[in-house]
Structures are given as C-alpha cells and as structure tokens.
C-alpha cells in the first residue's frame, strides 16, 4: 500500500450523551486498503463509524486525508468524500430507486458526470435498472443493500464506511455483495472501513483488521497475521 493512511483515528473516546461508548480507540485505514472492524453485538463497531461521520460527540483525533474531522458537521464530512452506508442501510424508503441514487450525488455539481455515473450503476446492477421507478422500501434486503452501496458510490467517495453489509441478506447475495465491494476497492481505489459481525466474509476482502470488545481495541494487525495465530482465530473469530 502507499504513503500516508487515508484515515487516522487516535485515542478516540465517543459519547452517547454523557455515556462513553468507545475508550482510547486507535487505528488507521491505508489509502486504497480495506480495514475490517470485528466484534460482537454492542462492542462499539457502529459507534466508530458514527464517530467518524460526526453523528455523535467525540474526543480525540480523527483525521481524514490529513484534515481533522472532529467537531465538523456530518454533511460537510460527507461532502469531503466519505460515504457512510449505515446499519439498516438507511435507504429513503418512500422514494424510488432512482431518487435514492440521485440523492447520493447531492454534493456533486456536474450534471453530465452524475448522469454518466448513474448509467454505469444501472449497467453494473441490472436489478436496480429494472426497479428504477420502484419504491425503495418494497425491495428485498439484498436489493436494498446493493442500492445503499450504489448510492454511496454516487457520492464519488474516496473512503467508504460500511456498517454490516451482510446483515439480513441471504448468503448467496452476501457473496455477490462482497465481490462488488472487492471490485470497487480494486478498480476505483476506494478505501474502506468495513464493520462486520460475519468475520469470515469480512476477512476475505480485508487486508487489515481489528477487534472491538466493549468499546476497546483488543487485537489488531494484518489479516494474514491474525489468521495465522490459532489462538486469536479460535477465541475471537470462532473458526
């Protein structure tokens, strides 16, 4: 991987109101790399993504492309090239597929480029093209996940934050989705911070990973190193 990391998180504490949910969390995402965040329910994985996106109060250092994100408003953070696909997918259920995709491009000015990207998405994902004018809420879990990822792509992000893309999606579709993510990373060079409960799928595409337990990082390193260590694999990854 190249030079400076695209995302640097150092000694971060995050709060829901006055309750701390993350304690002294530090990690980086390499430019063009995929870092997986693993851990059980309630470990604080979603909280990390929310902290980066400015949705909750944060203390510590979070820098993206060298600039600090702490204290910035969420829409400005998104406009800086960070696409966050939240847990539950966050689709605009009452709007059509196309409207959802166009909203993804809200921060962009160039209408021609937006139209071209939209056409590319439809070419890559025929299921979205078929359902262009369909209301998003009526689509299946897997289709909505593809829609959510596509909407994130429409932002032309340099960093994608993904919150449990495998959740509520049939296993075969999960494979498909993770292939899509791998391709996005390889072909478009989009860096990714991938939160997943399904460690196996996540570690197939990630190069680096760390484990969260009750708001603390307990293990981190390259995926190769983590998988090579039997103790870590058994205790934390379960296989």
């Amino acid at each position: 991987m190249s030079d400076a990391p695209i995302l640097k998180v150092k000694n971060v504490q995050a709060f829901y109101g006055s309750i701390p949910a993350l304690h002294d969390v530090s990690f980086t995402v390499a430019k063009g790399g995929i870092t997986a965040v693993l851990g059980a329910n309630g470990a604080g994985k979603t909280t990390i993504l929310r902290a980066i996106s400015g949705l909750i109060r944060v203390a510590g250092v979070i820098t993206y492309e060298g600039k600090s994100l702490v204290g910035r408003r969420s829409d400005k953070i998104a406009a800086g090239g960070i696409a966050h696909v939240p847990d539950g997918r966050g689709t605009f259920g009452s709007m059509t597929v196309e409207e959802n995709l166009l909203l993804g491009a809200y921060t962009r000015r160039n209408k021609k480029e937006i139209a071209a990207d939209l056409a590319l998405i439809y070419e890559r994902f025929p299921v979205l093209k078929e359902r262009r004018l369909q209301t998003a809420a009526t689509m299946s879990g897997g289709e909505q996940q593809i829609l959510a990822i596509s909407r994130a792509l429409m932002l032309k992000p340099r960093l994608m934050l993904l919150d449990e893309p495998s959740f509520g999606v049939a296993p075969l579709v999960v494979k498909n989705i993770f292939n899509i993510l791998r391709t996005i990373n390889k072909d478009l060079g989009v860096s990714m911070l991938l939160v997943e409960q399904n460690a196996e799928v996540a570690l197939e595409i990630a190069k680096n990973a760390f484990l969260l337990e009750t708001g603390r990082v307990i293990v981190s390193g390259t995926v190769d190193a983590l998988l090579a260590d039997d103790k870590i694999r058994h205790s934390y990854l379960g296989y």
Binding site: S53, G54, K76, M95, L103, A137
Partner: protein, 290 residues
Amino acid sequence: MEAFIQQVISGLVSGAIYASLALSLVMIFRSSGHLNFAQGEMAMFTTFICLSLIGWGLPYWVAVLVCLVLAFLIGSVLWSFVVKPIANVNLLSPIALLIGVMMIFNSLAGFIWGHDTQNFPSPFEFFSGWGSIYIADHDLGTILVILVVTIIVQLFFQFTKVGLAMRAAAENSTSSYLVGIPVGRMLSVGWGLATVLGTLAGVLVAPIIYVDPNMMLSALIYGFAAALLGGITSPLGAVFGGFIVGVAENLIGFYLIGTDIKMSVALILIIVTLLFKPAGIFGKEAAWRV
C-alpha cells in the same frame, strides 16, 4: 338550480383559500413533521404588513412581493430560532409552542394595527368581463392563482434537486446528512416557503373577508380539515381537500344544517378523517418496521 351553482362556486372560492393554507400546512409537515398552528396568524400578520406597504404608497404588486420575501424570512427565522431548539424534545412541546406563537402574532397584530376591520385591494379588477354573473372577478382570479401555485409546488417537490433534498431531509435526517444534505438549512427553507404560501392565502382572501387580526382564525380550522382530508403529506391532496371542504360546507350548510353552523362540517370532517383514514385521500400512510 341557480342557488346550487352559486353555492358550489362560492364553495370553490373559499375552497381555494383553504387549499392555500392547507398547502402551507403540508409544506411544513413535509419539512419538519410539525403541525404549524400559527400558520393562519402568521399569514394574517404578513397580510397586514402588505396593507401597510400599500398604504405607504407602494404599488400593489411591489407590496405583495416585498411581504412574500418578508414572509420567507419570518418563517425561516421562526423555525431556526424558536421551533428548532425544542423540535424533537417530545410530541407536545412544539404544539404548545406554536399555539403560543399563534397568540403572540394575533395580539401583536392587534397592538400594531388595531382591531378595526379594513379594506384590502384586489389585483383582479382588470379581469372585468372574465367573470360572469355566477362568479366575481376576484374569486375567479383566486382559484386560478391557487391552481397554478399548487402545480408549481408539486413540480418543485417532484422534479427539482432542492425539492428532492427537502423530501429526503423530512423522511430521514441521518441518511440525509450522510449524503451531504444540510438538513437544518432544508428545514429552514421549508418553513420559509410555507409561510410564503400562507401569506398568499392571506392576500387573496383579504379582499373578500376584510382585514382584521381575527381574519384567519376560522380559516386555519378549514385549512387543517382540508390538509387532513386531502392528505397531510400531499400538496395535490391539500388542494383537492380544500375544494371539497369548501363545497361541502356550503352545500351542507345551505341545504341541511343552516349556514350559521356550517363550520361544524369542517370539524366533523377532521374527526372522521382521523378516525377512518388518517393519511387522507392522497396522503402516504406512515409505516414503520417494528
């Protein structure tokens, strides 16, 4: 037969006013999910401002334009500094707050302009000849203006980038932030535009019912009936609802229950709609996954 036509037409005219108020109620509901009980009084207040501007010598259209701009500012400032701080505390606080705002605008208007009924000019005098014996020029002009404005509002929400962003901000503010939409600003614009629509209602109805601080009190009830019946989330529904309420109140009042208590038609419509089809005729049903 003539009486029937007369009642229907006059119902359409008052319906147009209710529709305009309903439009502003729908706009605010779509923007921030609130029912603005102060909508009528704000409209009355800005109509008074318009009257003063005309009184100071400004030509009619200039005065209207200026007070529409002022209406936008009043609406967005009200949202940003008064409603927003308590917008999500609970369901009842914004309602109580807005009823308070309603009373403040009412008293303030009485304090500034007094409680005497005043005349308000109509811009449709040049229509002379369009109307027939059945419908006055101003009434016809009012209906046409409301129809045009409704179409513009519907097109705005469906086909413009800002309209889309406003709908998104109202539906899911977190997801909206995550695609880069400045949610606070969208809500502010929504309230501003809604107040502009309400002012339009005030300026159009003023020549008919004359201007005084209480002119919009009953109109607000009709506006709510119209918005609920048509669908509190649908601009087209609001207008449709407005015309139905206007015509129904007139016909039922004239033929059945007497014109004195015809407002009860609106009140009963509100109750019936909320009991049997709360989303209204064109509204979207609110649904959550549980």
